[in-house]
Symmetry: C2
Subunit: 384 residues, 2 copies
């Protein structure tokens, strides 16, 4: 096992009917900015429920945070925070809204140009406190300290991390995901799945607990994902997916083991260039990534084949091949395509992504920093 | 899944050579009391390593905290804390020392009679900050908010819980467990095992993630425990056991599921009455407890048989019987007896324990509060 620090102070408040507890968790004299995305939070009643719970508090609203939240949008929220002397941010939504709130929390307390926080990969020294009311099980942002923000002007995704960015609390009410459409559910399941594999499918370091936990999350996604597509109001299924997605990226399963993230880095370029949903880029890249790098990842892939897909017969190579086929098939069964052709993209896209990877210094990716542009090319060509 | 809150702000600092980081985690002007147990912390060099790291700090020492730490001992530490205006406690040891530090942290900030904290099961409102340097993988106290303190005058074990009792940090250096003897290792593995089963072997609430995590911890203990007995210096084995024991009782696997703890309550009386090591009481009580209550726990026991012990053939009852036999055999293989006769105890002990259970209002135990004294009698008679 590798040395590690694990620290995660976010208070998870899990279950139905928990939004009413908001006043217990936000100072009474706080000046609160509620951040949300599109109209769905208002339409499905979650925003009203939050506003009802906060009657008597000073509350401001900032809506319209888009998927892949942009610096250009969020800077307006920063201005609002400063103008109204807001001192508590409440993110009501999924990963994009929460990530956006994390940027706003930092930028509002920063003296210089907020764009520096993204472009100079600055250490986060300060941030306003953030609370979360989660409406989507996917990114895990509700219980971690990271965010990905898009700078539209340069078509670049920037990562932001720091201990001050852990939400103070996260309310996880599975009933809030009853209104999601099939695409959002499919995306969420694939996103969580790939978060796990990025921390699990590397090389062995004798970490049986982390491995078992990762496998447990994958098995749960495989079992519960299709059930979530089949029924929109099964509380337990939605609860299991919500808790799985949080645990997939809250630092726990990644403690003491190597991390990959090459699939994410290539996926980010596909989103920035072509606007493909984040999870959908991962579903395209992961199977090809694992195929191209199967020798370096052999031991973990064989374990994955056996423990996650129950493949205990045949040669290692064959088991790995079957496991990757099953993985692709699972993504497809969740309504998420696994080839670039689904987005009418071909060789041009491969060249474009490679150009952007180079421009963003993504030339040595993966758990051993050996995923060169040449290997990324093979991976991308395998996505066609 | 049941509704739950999960909050655990303890910073885990895991790996070899981490004790030197103590000054990063304790305020420079803190007045620190180091609490420890017997001579082993001094003999094996851990105490010196801690003192070296804290050169320049104001440091006091309080040694001699016994297994099953007693009010009578700890109250002397409380006096020292008050006399020297100590404002930071550093526990160097295993669960007993950490539990003791939690009581001292609370009692030192309490205006009334510190015994009230135990006898009146008071809500913990305040406590000094606690840091931990762990030397034993077993109780999980290093990353949770509970403690068990013995009042020797009444032969009673009292439980103490509260958010203020989470250690601020816990340094988990697996090399510090190289000097443990076989008895300490066996006890630690059994203790962690039973912590898991108390939160796992109840009744199904559709919680696949919690189940998989619990099973992962049990499988790891079964695999790594014997290796720890076989080799005193295998870093990875000690690391895996240390992390497993923490995760067994840090609130994670118990979130959203029913809890039992009947085995612990009966075990506590055996320790208080006869001085049997805590884990050794659990090894005696658990197999009998599961046998007596096998109908109420049937679904989870069948799952345990299948996923933990690989028993997939035969009738349910037979599988459960085999699983319990395997569990007992595992405890015995760790050098931990599973019958009261190993301690020369017979029917008298049964009667004594029952009397104490009644005196302590332990008359409705278990996940459904249906473990009456009559059932506890059957369990205890099964331990003979």
């Amino acid at each position: 096992m590798l040395n590690f620090d694990f620290y995660n102070p976010t208070r998870v408040i899990f279950g139905d009917d928990r939004i009413a507890e908001l006043p217990k968790r936000i100072p009474h004299d706080a000046r609160i900015l509620i951040l949300y995305g599109g109209d769905s939070a208002r339409r499905n009643g979650t925003l009203d429920e939050v506003l009802d719970a906060l009657v008597g508090h000073e509350v401001f609203e900032f809506g319209g945070i888009e998927a892949n939240p942009s610096y250009e949008t969020l800077i307006k929220a920063v201005e609002l925070v400063r103008a109204e002397k807001v001192d508590f941010l409440l993110a009501v939504g999924g990963g994009s809204v929460i990530d956006g709130a994390k940027f706003v929390a930092t930028a509002a307390t920063y003296d210089g140009d907020p764009l520096d926080i993204l472009t100079r990969r600055m250490r986060i020294m300060n941030a306003l406190p953030i609370g979360v009311v989660l409406t989507l099980a996917a990114t895990g942002s509700e219980t971690n300290n990271g965010a990905v923000i898009t700078h539209q002007a340069t078509q670049t995704k920037h990562t932001l991390m720091g201990e001050r960015l852990y939400p103070v609390f996260a309310i996880l009410d599975p009933t809030k995901t009853f209104t999601l459409d099939a695409r959002q559910i499919g995306n969420g399941v694939v996103d969580a799945f790939v978060h796990v594999t990025e921390q699990y499918l590397t090389y062995p370091v004798n970490s049986p607990v982390q491995d078992r936990f990762a496998e447990g999350l994958l098995l749960t996604l495989i079992d519960q994902g299709p059930k979530a597509l089949a029924s929109s109001r099964d509380y337990d299924v939605r609860a299991n997916l919500m808790w799985t997605a949080s645990l997939a990226l809250n630092g726990l399963i990644g403690s003491g083991v190597p991390h990959d993230w090459a699939t994410h880095m290539i996926g980010h370029e596909l989103t920035a260039l072509y606007g493909i949903d984040h999870a959908r880029t991962l579903a395209v890249v992961l199977p090809s990534m694992l195929k191209v790098r199967k020798d370096a990842k052999k031991e973990k892939l064989v374990q994955f084949a056996e423990r996650v897909w129950g493949l205990t017969e045949g040669e290692d190579d064959q088991r790995i091949r079957y496991a990757l086929a099953r993985t692709s098939k699972f993504f497809e069964s969740m309504g998420v395509p696994t080839k670039l052709s689904a987005y009418n993209l071909g060789q041009d896209a491969v060249e474009n992504v490679l150009k952007h990877l180079e421009a963003h210094n993504m030339t040595a990716l993966g758990e051993k920093r050996d995923v060169t542009l040449e290997i990324s090319r093979k991976v991308l060509e395998g996505c066609l």
